[in-house]
Amino acid sequence: MALIEEEILLKNLKDETTRAKAFEVLLNKYKERLYWHIRRIVLNHDDADDVLQNTFIKVFRSIDGFEGKSKLYSWLYRIATNEALSFLTSKSRKLGISDHDLQNRMVMNLKADSYFEGDEIQYKLQEAIATLPEKQKLVFNMKYFDDLKYQEISAILDTSVGGLKASYHLAVKKIESFIKDSL
């Protein structure tokens, strides 16, 4: 979104008289990108739907507090990431299992998931991603699937570009190794 366009949208979001309409524009603009980002973290569609709705409601409630120090999209992405990670933490606590076990269970459920159409290699890829530490997973998803630039990821995750490059490099190596070992 162009900078001027974003400024206008933000101004309308902060104005009570134009907020509703502006929020509709925001929702329409970012719903898919945010959904896929969340979906790659939680894997399941219903969970992704819950987290996405919570994300937009949080955005709606917090818009007055957004100072515009970062880009609007970075802010949205950050909220979506936090909501997804909080969701997983809460789910693992409710089930009484570790985060690692939850990740394994989520991947195993993909086989029976009607909203997953991947072949064996796609499934292996998800299995490999599930073995990554949380930050590496996020960086890999954002770089590989979302095609975000390192600068954009840096603004979202508040990590240096150098650190992100290292994380991504390590993630790729681990995934390659996992898939090779499983073949």
Binding site: L27, N28, K31, Y35, W36, R39, F56, I57, Y115, Q122
Partner: protein, 161 residues
């Protein structure tokens, strides 16, 4: 080329540039239910409309809460007042010992008379002269006795009881 080709071309191209890339679907092989995006918009907008309609909670205290707070305050004050009084000696005369009472009374009578009393009763008048007694005559004594006889009768025992 067709007449309106360029116009149609730009009309076709611009939306594709603005929409997010669909290659994510190929990479992850995830998909969404039919009409999900429309349904999502409706649900989110409905929820945000409800948030707008919900009045902001003001600091309005429920009546029962006020009653509970008042009771708690009374209890706290009562405890505070009682703890304050317990440090003082209770004014119970029964607990006073006789010696303490006598000591108190002596202190009062041994005190020097106030200046007011000295003015009303000059010291010179307060001296008692033994000679004054010897000047009393027998007649004066008899007069005194007559005056007090009626009073004396009161002290006779009634033999009928």
């Amino acid at each position: 080329m067709p007449e309106d080709y360029l116009e149609k071309f730009s009309e076709k191209l611009l939306p594709q540039l603005e929409e997010p890339s669909s290659k994510n679907l190929d990479k992850t092989s995830f998909k969404v239910p039919k009409n999900y995006w429309e349904k999502l918009e409706l649900e989110v907008l409905q929820k945000t409309t409800e948030i707008n309609k919900t009045p902001k909670k003001s600091l309005r205290l429920e009546p029962y809460f006020l009653v509970a707070a008042a009771i708690a305050l009374i209890v706290v004050l009562a405890i505070g007042l009682n703890s304050g009084n317990s440090t003082e000696k209770s004014l119970d005369f029964a607990s006073l010992e006789e010696s303490e009472l006598f000591n108190y009374l002596e202190d009062i009578y041994l005190e020097e008379p106030s200046n007011e009393l000295i003015e009303i009763f000059p010291q010179g008048d307060m001296t008692w002269n033994m000679n004054d007694v010897t000047t009393l005559e027998e007649e004066n004594i008899l007069d005194y006795l007559e005056d007090t006889i009626d009073e004396m009768d009161e002290f006779k025992f009634q033999e009928d009881e």
